[in-house]
């Protein structure tokens, strides 16, 4: 492996990891209240909200990417506001990629959390309230620790799914080294230029990563028997 390919593997990998990490953190913050609401509500809007959250699972990434490109672009609703605020465009930037990834990976964070919250007995929360815990206190002191598996599942899936994203990145982020050239784009690049060796290295790395992470998650899920 010469130094040049070494760098060209390393930079996209690091960028992918950064993107996945930031996206996971944002999604846990945003996804937790959404999942909590979905798990407790009896509102008639629940089905609508669930459908919206789940859409990225079935839509082609290019469709999501296309609409995000319009929305985040300098003339789009969010993009123009961002330009006013920061002076830079959201499209073809790392920040834009984070927003796009959050939309794209939202269901993968919300669904494990929602099912964890749904299996949480209302009775246990009622006990916490009658024991002097406010709703917020009871959420952090009882609901969160009792839903550890949900949080692990949500983190792993959101992280791994963001790492594997391609179509949305291509539409919204393009292929800017160090800014938006994540590992999946880099692999595509190498294949386009018939550089199969480098493509192999990166693909194998992702393959192993995916296996280790998913395997680890299933092992943890089996061992972690918090009822």
């Amino acid at each position: 492996m010469d130094e040049l390919t070494g760098i060209s593997i390393f930079a996209p990998l690091l960028l992918s990891a950064q993107l996945a990490f930031v996206t996971t953190v944002v999604l846990l913050l945003v996804g937790t209240p959404i999942a909590w609401w979905l798990s407790r509500t009896r509102s008639r809007f629940k089905a609508v909200a669930q459908a919206i959250v789940a859409m990225p699972i079935v839509l082609p990434p290019t469709v999501i990417g296309f609409y995000l490109l319009i929305l985040l672009g300098p003339n789009g609703a969010i993009g123009s506001w961002w330009v006013q605020l920061t002076g830079t465009a959201l499209t073809f930037s790392f920040s834009g990629l984070v927003i796009a990834s959050c939309v794209y990976s939202l269901p993968f964070a919300v669904q494990p959390l929602q099912s964890a919250f749904e299996s949480l007995p209302q009775q246990t929360l009622e006990f916490a309230w009658t024991q002097g815990a406010s709703k917020l206190d009871a959420f952090f002191a009882v609901a969160v620790p009792m839903s550890v598996r949900g949080f692990i599942g949500a983190s792993v899936l959101a992280f791994a799914h963001t790492l594997g994203e391609f179509g949305v990145v291509l539409m919204v982020g393009g292929n800017i080294p160090g800014e938006t050239r994540v590992i999946s784009i880099a692999i595509y690049d190498q294949v386009e230029t018939l550089n199969y060796g480098a493509a192999h290295q990166m693909s194998l790395l992702l393959l192993m990563f995916a296996f280790v992470v998913l395997f680890g998650m299933f092992v943890i899920n089996r061992r972690w028997s918090v009822r």
Partner: protein, 350 residues
């Protein structure tokens, strides 16, 4: 809206709650004393649990009490213990303690009283139903609530576990001064543990008062038939080793009960079910029944098509006898008659 007024012996807790759900309507406006345990007795579906949930703030009722659950100072022991599975027993009982401002109850005392010392490091899923319920009770008490609600805490346990937990509840009654509402559909539990009694039927309180007086009333359908019975305070006096019998003294004489009871106790509560009491006009000498008391008939009321309840004055205590109306007619039983009561079985609160 539940209000606790005053702190002296005259103080009362006012329960005023109303709620409508489908065909069911809860409408309660009653005062209970702040001392001792108040039994809330009624059949399933009569609204007992709904009333407790309104008091705790877990149901939104029409009283528009906007205080959130955690600010009401009401402790709730649920039918099924609802401990926090991720915390050990110690952290479970400290959960409420840490969140209460005016903790007055001594933690080691509660741990000792409920026999939890050996359980402190265990997780809830390693506890039996009775142990878990004791932990839940300790957790609720340590929060030093102004009012404790107990919703059939024995109902989810089998008879052995019930017998195991009951002595702990007796100790709560004797050693704590927190006002408590104890819900049950078992008249045995209520008459064993409570000092006051509220009868609830179809969402309404039909009668309420001091336990002995309530049990002696013959006009309450809920306390007739198999539920009828009386409670007397008696003092264990001596133990007959030969026959394994303990003799108790009370205002109306002596009662012998199988088994050994601590004769150092000043007073214990004996429950005598009305169907275990029969009446003779002359003193029966040739009976296998051990306990025969001389009594005066205080009142006779028909309690069903074939049955009647007879209230007997024995010393200063009341006994109830469930007999047939035919016997009442045949023996011409009426108020003021001097008779003999045969007591077949006595339940002792240890």
């Amino acid at each position: 809206m539940t209000r606790i007024v005053g702190t002296d012996s005259e103080a009362t807790v006012t329960l005023k709650h109303a709620l409508r759900r489908g065909d069911f309507q809860l409408d309660v406006d009653v005062q209970i004393p702040t001392t001792g345990i108040t039994g809330l007795f009624g059949e399933s579906g009569s609204g007992k649990t709904t009333l407790l949930r309104c008091i705790a703030g877990l149901e939104t009722d029409l009283s528009h009490d906007s205080r959130p659950v955690h600010e009401r100072g009401v402790g709730y022991v649920f039918q099924e213990p609802r401990l926090f599975p991720h915390l050990d027993v110690r952290r479970n009982i400290e959960f409420g303690l840490r969140r209460s401002s005016g903790a007055k109850i001594d933690q080691p005392q509660v741990v000792e009283m409920l026999g939890l010392a050996e359980l402190l490091d265990r997780k809830p899923d390693g506890l039996s139903g009775g142990e878990a319920q004791r932990v839940a009770i300790a957790a609720v008490l340590l929060r030093s609530p102004q009012l404790v609600l107990m919703d059939e805490p024995l109902a989810s346990l089998d008879q052995r576990r019930k017998d195991e937990l009951l002595p702990y509840l007796d100790r709560l009654h004797d050693e704590l001064s927190v006002p408590m509402i104890y819900v049950s559909h078992s008249i045995d539990e209520v008459s064993r543990l409570c000092d006051h009694l509220l009868l609830i039927d179809n969402g309404k309180i039909v009668a309420g008062g001091e336990l002995h007086e309530m049990l002696a009333r013959l006009d309450l359908p809920m306390l007739s038939g198999t539920n009828a019975g009386s409670v007397i305070e008696a003092r264990p006096w001596r133990y007959n080793r030969n026959y394994d019998l303990t003799q108790f003294n009370f205002s109306g004489g002596e009662l012998s009960v199988p088994g050994l009871y601590d004769t150092n106790l000043r007073s214990v509560r004996l429950r005598i079910a009305a169907h275990d009491v029969s009446i003779c006009l002359s003193r029966p000498d040739d009976t296998t029944i051990l306990n025969v008391l001389s009594a005066e008939i205080d009142d006779v009321q028909a309690s069903g098509p074939s049955s009647a309840l007879v209230r007997l004055l024995v010393g200063t205590d009341y006994l109830l006898a469930l007999v047939t109306r035919r016997s009442v007619a045949r023996l011409d039983l009426k108020k003021g008659d001097q008779v003999f009561a045969q007591v077949k079985s006595v339940t002792v609160r240890r």
